[in-house]
């Protein structure tokens, strides 16, 4: 594992030396990796292995099963796959990710980036600052602001009232819609910045040539700009999906996953089962499912990057 590749060292060619001396040198070269490897093993690999192990136990938050949990095999998973709330939570997670990340943040982010490229300097600066500020806010603060906006006496109903429309208790009546809109508000800046950078990399000659050939704005966008930035689109879709999968604070503050479990995405559901109902083992099984989902997306993301690399 720790030997050098046949072509030797990139920077400093290794002269022929006795084998043991070369071995020593290689150890010296990989030694700087040690702190990072130790931290990653303890604080990344540790929790992952523990998640898999813990999902086969009946660990509880309090009581005797907290200290001395027993191995219960697949019981947590059998319970999980017979639990309609779990499948509802899975559906809500898919809805949350699809509506707020894949559609909301990506489409709005691309639209904003396209508009920014054509708008006046002042409008661009002001709009950019506002959109980015919502994203730089700590998640908790963004969640409080979104709560105050959607709550019964909040700003949304205040504006609707001014228009003569009677408001609703949005957080209670439409919990998923409110957390999705809040996440679009909070997260769009990321996609906007990615697409702004991507659009700058589109050579202007390409769009010029298209317009000389008589392509309209829409055609030039569909057939020139979007194909050129497709790898940014793919990367951004993966990244926003992974980010949105782990959104917790926003939903906890706005709806606590409620009413009932009506806005409990997987992170919130796992939290509720473990800390509200005291079943750590069951919450851990849900966390393991989340890890698996994340791992699938991670592999897809890495393959995507690998393909891009070969292409370029």
């Amino acid at each position: 594992m720790t030997t050098l590749a046949p072509e030797g060292v990139a920077a400093y060619p290794v002269p022929r030396r006795p084998r043991w001396l070369r071995g020593l040198r290689i150890v010296g070269r990989v030694l700087p990796l040690a702190p990072a490897v130790v931290i990653l093993l303890l604080f990344m690999a540790g929790p992952i292995i523990w998640a898999v192990y813990g999902s086969f136990t009946n660990t509880a938050l309090t009581g005797s099963n907290a200290r001395n949990p027993a191995w219960i095999g697949l019981d947590n998973y059998i319970k999980l796959f017979g639990d309609p709330t779990f499948f509802q939570s899975l559906r809500l997670t898919v809805l949350f990710v699809f509506a707020s990340a894949v559609v909301g943040q990506n489409v709005l982010g691309l639209g904003l980036a396209l508009a920014m490229a054509r708008a006046g300097k002042a409008v661009r600066a002001i709009a950019g600052t506002i959109v980015v500020t919502a994203w730089v806010l700590p998640e908790l603060v963004a969640a409080f602001a979104a709560y105050a906006y959607f709550t019964g006496n909040g700003t949304l109903n205040q504006m609707l009232g001014a228009l003569g429309v009677s408001g609703r208790n949005w957080l209670f009546d439409f919990p998923m819609a409110t957390v999705i809109l809040a996440n679009v508000w909070r997260g769009t800046a990321f996609s906007m910045l990615v697409y702004q950078a991507a659009l700058r990399s589109v050579p202007p000659e390409l769009t010029e040539a298209a317009s000389l050939d008589g392509a309209g704005t829409r055609q030039s966008l569909l057939y020139v700009t979007l194909p050129v930035i497709r790898s940014s689109i793919a990367t951004n879709l993966m990244l926003t999906t992974l980010q949105t999968l782990s959104v917790f604070t926003l939903i906890l503050v706005m709806t606590s996953g409620g009413p009932g479990f009506k806005s409990s995405t997987l992170p919130v559901f796992a939290y509720q089962e473990a800390f509200k109902f005291g079943d750590i083992g069951y919450g851990t099984a849900i966390a393991t499912v989340m890890l698996l989902i994340g791992a699938v997306f991670a592999v897809a993301y890495i393959r995507l990057l690998g393909l891009e690399r070969e292409r370029t």
Binding site: T2, I39, V123, P138, A145, A197, L242, I286, A287, E308
Partner: protein, 297 residues
Amino acid sequence: MTQRLTSQTLGLAASRPDRAGPPTVGGRRISSLANVVLAMVAVVFLLPLAWLLLAAVDPAASSRTQVPETLTLDHFSAVLTTELTLRPLTNSLLLSTVAGTVTVVASVLAAYPLSRYRLRFGKHFLYTVLFGTSLPITAIMVPVYSLAVRAGVLDSLAATSLFMAGASLPIAIWMTKNFMDAVPVSLEEAARVDGATLLDRIRYIIVPLMRPGLGVVFTFVFVQAWGNFFVPFVLLLSPRKQPAAVTIFTFFGQFGTVAYGQLAAFSLIYTVPVIALYAVVSRGLGGSFAVSSGMKG
């Protein structure tokens, strides 16, 4: 976790002027349409932010957005106590600084062999790191909690900050390696001939040359840790040790009788350092450089 890192560095792109499209037929119409659309989006996005600013100084603050009739700093003085803000902010600073420092040191060390030597396992290591970047590690706090209970490190500031460092480490290594690749190897040659050890070369040649990049990595991790609520919420139990995020939540969590003015004031105090750091980094540390390092595979 992923969100956080790449996003912060990407943000730096904003400071770069856009390349305006060439004037084309109908260009002016499109441009005014773009202005109108952006203005509308800006107003919609501004509303919750405006509430935060206005409620903090409004004696009659509520969840509605209104222009205050008089201005007050009472909400700020009400929350500026040791228990409520000063100690929690100190804890936030401590957690974020330790997480940022540990991450940067470990990343620089790890990035050196990955960037400078052709290691047979280097590619696998980097892909494993990238894989780790993508796992929702800070969203699986249930097993992390039970592991901390078993290991006897529940309610430990040190363990919490190390966990946050571990969670940011994959993306930090990835970014640091990309920054380091941009530092020419030739600069180290002379030092190496003069007998400088590997640590000397890292310390006196590499680190000074990649200070802007390390600033980006540190800021990214710091901001992540500062804004993180879920991790300290689950791992730190005693109020004395909790950072500002957890204190705000527990203090204002019962929404029945919310003191909106104090909530907004507290939120602003907690947010200002992050905004300031972001502004400094995005202005000072070079835009496209960071973007490409954050994004490239």
